[in-house]
Amino acid sequence: MKGLIVERAGPLALIQDGGRFGVRHLGVTQGGAADWVSLGWANWLLGNAPQAPGVEITLGGLTLCAEASATLALTGADLGATLDDEPLAPGCRFTIAAGQRLAFERPRAGLRAYLAFPGGLDAAPVLGSAASTVRERLGGLDGQGRALTEGDCLTWAGAAGPERTLPSGVGTLPEVGERVMLALVGGAQLAGFSGTSVFEAFNTPWQVDQRADRMGVRLTGPELRYLGEGMVSEGIPLGAVQVPADGQPIVLLNDRQTIGGYPRLGALTPLACTRLAQCQPGSEVWLTPVAAGQARDAHLRQLAYWR
């Protein structure tokens, strides 16, 4: 079957969907698009279900060559994409003709771009999802979780829906000069941190560290002190902000371990996680408390766009 051939894979291009659910009690991680909003919009542009499988391109370096023409959609980070050397800005639906090359260079804004395919990319679900988790060897093209590699062929079965354009102001990338606020729902252990630490957590800027991947993103800033006792490992929600002994928080993302024993400030909302997933190392971010109900309202508004 004709599709898009991977000519150059780059550092990390993964097949991702909405994530793998219902198996976390077996130790299987959630996975799924780190910026699920961008994947959702890419799918929406083609008339797909928001969680249909697509490609998550991290940092760029990917080149695809089309064997047949296709209508695709690109959202998320600006990774310097070109279509036969013509610049292609993210947030669009476009047609690639047979023989044309879609190439991604390096990040100009954000970290992760999403490419959607008519009806969703062909990838057999494993444990209910096509999401690639390299560490667990689950999902992806081969079902073994591996990242895209040279020679892979990307195919799809559906057809693109009627033409659509992205509403303005719905992207997940921060505007130039915008203060990146990450909404956090406070957890029960918040009370176990020193008063100064709680103040500092929400009133000082945090730097996004180099040590960042799909499992978690380390933030550096003031040293947070937990005064409570040692914890027994417990389940970890998406976006959990855990604080190990060095006092520097780690925000746990899609490929996090299922249980863990570090105290937590709370959890970023799933929407805030998408913003963090687009922050380059060295970016400045702020944590801001939000009530669970408020977070839910914002989340439901996002889902309503795609109805």
């Binding site: 198996v23 444990l127 689950l138 957890g187 490992s233 109900g293 839910r296």
Partner: protein, 243 residues
């Protein structure tokens, strides 16, 4: 069991806290809470992650708001009675205990001043409860270990621990389902498959199950399909960066 706490831990997640410490005696209550919460949340449940003393409930916010979710959790836990013992499955896991595949077997024996056979006998002498699954698919935290066998984690985790490696850390024991990094003390290897997408229920072990280890010979291990390749890499060798 004291009154359970229901804690909000995220936009769409609660933690039900039943106990404060790790104890086999808690397992019937944990199993009962697991069943009750699954039933109470039904279609609105996205994931339920039990751990030693808590159960994380990830619910669908399109169906429930926080108040409704808390109410369901509260209802589920009202009048909870512990699951009857023996509800979990019993497993016997054959293990080839040998320093070539379990380098810390020698170290533990040396520290205790006993023979390796004695360490093996102690590891095989009791039933272990599966407290929780986590770390990796099918990775079961089991305990409690004979006090004498309790050993701290390696200072530097190994980059690669072979699938089937039988391990000890503090008063817990576990088996690595797949090749992965790991910081536990390795004492042997089993040929039994612990996790697989084609396996019924995917994972051999579930919380509440009981596991007993049984020592077998190298020949028997190979006959069962085991890979006898030595676990060569030593995790406690300092890396270049640390020297």
């Amino acid at each position: 069991m004291s009154d359970p706490n229901i804690e909000t831990v995220g936009m769409d997640t609660l933690i039900v806290r039943l106990f404060d410490d790790i104890d086999e005696e808690h397992m019937p209550w944990m199993l009962a809470a697991d069943h009750a919460l699954r039933e109470a949340f039904g279609e609105a449940l996205i994931d339920l992650v039990p751990s030693y003393t808590t159960l994380l409930v990830h619910y669908d916010i399109e169906r429930l708001d926080l108040q409704a979710a808390r109410a369901r959790a509260r209802e589920a836990l009202t009048g909870l009675t512990p699951a009857t013992s023996g509800e979990g499955q019993r497993h016997v896991i054959p293990v080839w205990y040998d320093v070539s595949v379990g380098p810390e077997l020698a170290r533990i024996a040396e520290r205790l001043g006993v023979s390796q056979e004695d360490v093996i006998a102690r590891h095989c002498a009791r039933d272990y409860s599966v407290f929780a699954l986590g770390f990796a698919p099918g990775y079961a935290f089991m305990g409690r270990l004979d006090d004498a066998l309790a050993t701290p984690r390696l200072k530097t985790p190994r980059q690669k621990v072979a699938a089937g490696s039988v391990a000890i850390a503090e008063r817990q024991t576990a088996v690595y389902p797949t090749l992965s990094p790991g910081g536990w003390n390795i004492i042997g290897r089993t040929a039994v498959a612990l996790f697989g997408r084609d396996q019924e229920g995917y994972s051999l072990f579930r919380p509440g199950d009981t596991v007993r280890f049984e020592a077998i010979t190298r020949e028997a291990f190979i006959e069962q399909g085991g890979d006898p390749a030595p676990l060569a890499e030593r995790g406690d060798t300092p890396t270049e960066a640390q020297r």
